[in-house]
Amino acid sequence: MLRFRQGYYADVRVEDRYTTSVRYRNGVAEENKSSCVKKAFIRVFDGKMWYYASTYKLDDLQSELEALYAAATPDYFVHDHPAIKKLQVHTKKKLRFAGDCVKDVPAENKQAVLTQRFAALSDSPYVKMSTALYADRYSVYHFMSSKGADLEYDYQLCGAAFTVSLSDGKNTFDNRCQFTASAFSALDVTDERVKAMVDEGVNYLLHAKPVAPGVYPVILSPEVAGVFAHESFGHKSEADFMIGDETMRKEWELGKKVGSDILSIYDSGKISGSGYVPYDDEGTKAGKTYLIKNGVLSGRLHSAETACDLGEEVTGNARAMNCDFEPIVRMTTTVIETGGKTKEELFANVSHGYYIKTYKHGSGMSTFTIAPSLAYEIVDGKITVPVKIAVITGNVFETLNLIDGLSDEVEITSSITGGCGKMEQWPLNVAFGGPYVSISKMNIA
């Protein structure tokens, strides 16, 4: 039992992380491991500065805590500090996944998810290399604070990812698909989807044509719309960029019109998948926060420190990648809400433009950039030939105002292999989603 001292705020986060990684290349096993890593992250606040320690010495957490106390200066009113007052106190033990845990799944069952797909994965003469990856993670978190928080909760995700490297001797292309679920029993990996991924990749390899750089109408798939929401606006909603910055406060005043009337974006840690965060790493319970509602700036994402600085409420978005790092403001699951059109109606409105179906990576500041993987030309409302596009890019605010159509169903994309990067912390598990999104003008390069 940890002994917290008077005169300091302190909290301790312990994560017991179990992971599995099974990988085959061209049907040959390259990796098959299960790891258990248990580490702790300790925070002490003395009213002026935070003192952190990341440690694997779990038997000696009290000594680590004492070392941080020694570096800090006591303030006997620290629990009255407005940032500390923002911190929630929950005492709960809820292990949602313990009864259906990936730790209990036999290793051969995990391998079979991959080995059963080998035929579908290599069913084309253009496949020059294939990789199949199974990964899972089960984390149990224990969070305690000097305010009395005592929380135990868990996180789980498993999935499989398949990649093919294709070549016709002249051109090359890599295509991939991924399956995820919150429990192994719900993981639905099918030959059909793997085969469809290979076939679509081959079509792209053989028929993709270059695009003349320029400005075009664009339709984003739900997956790409999700990464667009994350990169274009989600990062701007992370309030740690605004601490003590008067210009940012004026520019980002709630109620300001920032996008098209049909656009609403929210972030929520309550959605199952890779962005599931029932409590953040300061012990704050997950919420649903509208960032944009009907085109109007409606909220932002907070830690206790940023909520205090901006006079707003905590949102459950103080997150750390693992126990090597302190929590900073991060997204969880970021979603563009539906609109009123069908997917078919959105495409029918485009006489000449491009459909961005999948992506390789994205980034965003004042300008966002997404590097497409699969992309197609749209002619007279129909998806036609595949195209090679290095990046799509645009000014965030101009582009948010150019959204002119949203389809009527949202798809959420979880990821078992990647995640979000912010400064030194990459990859953090997040998810995102949206409907099909039509944008009247976007730069294509």
């Binding site: 491991k33 500065m49 890599d174 004042s366 590097a371 290095a390």
Partner: protein, 404 residues
Amino acid sequence: MNYEKSVKNITSYSVSVTNNAVTSLRVSEDLKTSVRVYEDGKIGVAGAIGECSESSLLEEARQKLNQGIPYPYCPAPAIRRSERGSDEIISYNDFVPACKSLVKRLSESFPDFIFSNKINEEKYWQSYSSSSGAALNYKSNNITMALTIKAKDSANIMDLMYSAVQNRYSEDEIVADAGALLGVYKNRLQIPEGVLVLIPADIVEFLVPHLVAEKYMAGSGIFNGRLGQKIFDGKVSISLSRKSDNKENLPFFDCEGTVLKGDEYPLINGGVLSGLLTCKRSASRYNLPLSGGAEADFDGVPSCGTDGVRILPTSNSLKNLVQGKAIYIAVTSGGDMTTSGEVGLPVLLAYVYEDGKLLGTLPEFSLSGNIFDMLGRDFIGAAKNDAFSFADETLIVTRMKINA
């Protein structure tokens, strides 16, 4: 039984800088041990975090042989070598005061700007030993400056970043570097026509996946079938370098105990594709030389890594490569390359460069070009950015199309 053991110990101090103030100190210690055993063409791996018993790990690794993961046993040469890079740069007790002093000076010297993010000092130690008699040790320290900079009147979350990794510390030089960037930041210029562009050398990362042996040998990379052939201008040389002058705490050996001749392996030599990135598995499978870049998780099977790949300077001075004005690309938003080698690079911040100095900033634009032209007929050279003192940045001098 054939085995190898690797131990990595990293201690770091890191401060957060928030709006021109040092707001936190983080102390981290990480100790990881890996043991790998080899038998009958198979590998077994065990790893531990923290103090551990070598005999227990050996036994665990031996049991993992049952997983049947094929891996060739290629014993590391019985080399015994120890190398010590930089000593401690700033002591633990002096670290926060030094960071506070720097941040105070930066905020006072550049009152129109806000500095945030991280300053980090890392103490790195790694060893490798094997049943074949190899005993390798490496110890070094470095400092990483990762400061975001925002103009106070800007609505951007950041406007530029000052990044530097060094094995020494100089507050004066860091302030001078910031001065080179910020002293002319508000001097808005027009995009000069027909000039060279100076691109940070990390654009080479677009090429790295195509230099990996598995991808190349599968015929699915952009250099398909061109090993031994000239692919770029004769001045272009790209190597995997583990030389002791690196600032990244990169040991002279990889995780499999491979030590390179001259601590360097040429991938592109004088424009010729001369080597591929390998680990012992891919080198054995394709009968290729070891590139010395294998990496592995503490409990994982080694695979081909890419740390240390860099373009070699063609000149001691950027001034020798650039006559008149050029455009220095300071901040990009992502960017990527298609499978045909077409590069798209949205540029958020660029400066006009002339004679070792930055003159002013340019409006946003994007760059496009083909990598075979950028490093081929349009390649002028590569050299250290001489506008900076502390930051050790290599720039590629070439031509690209500017889309304003």
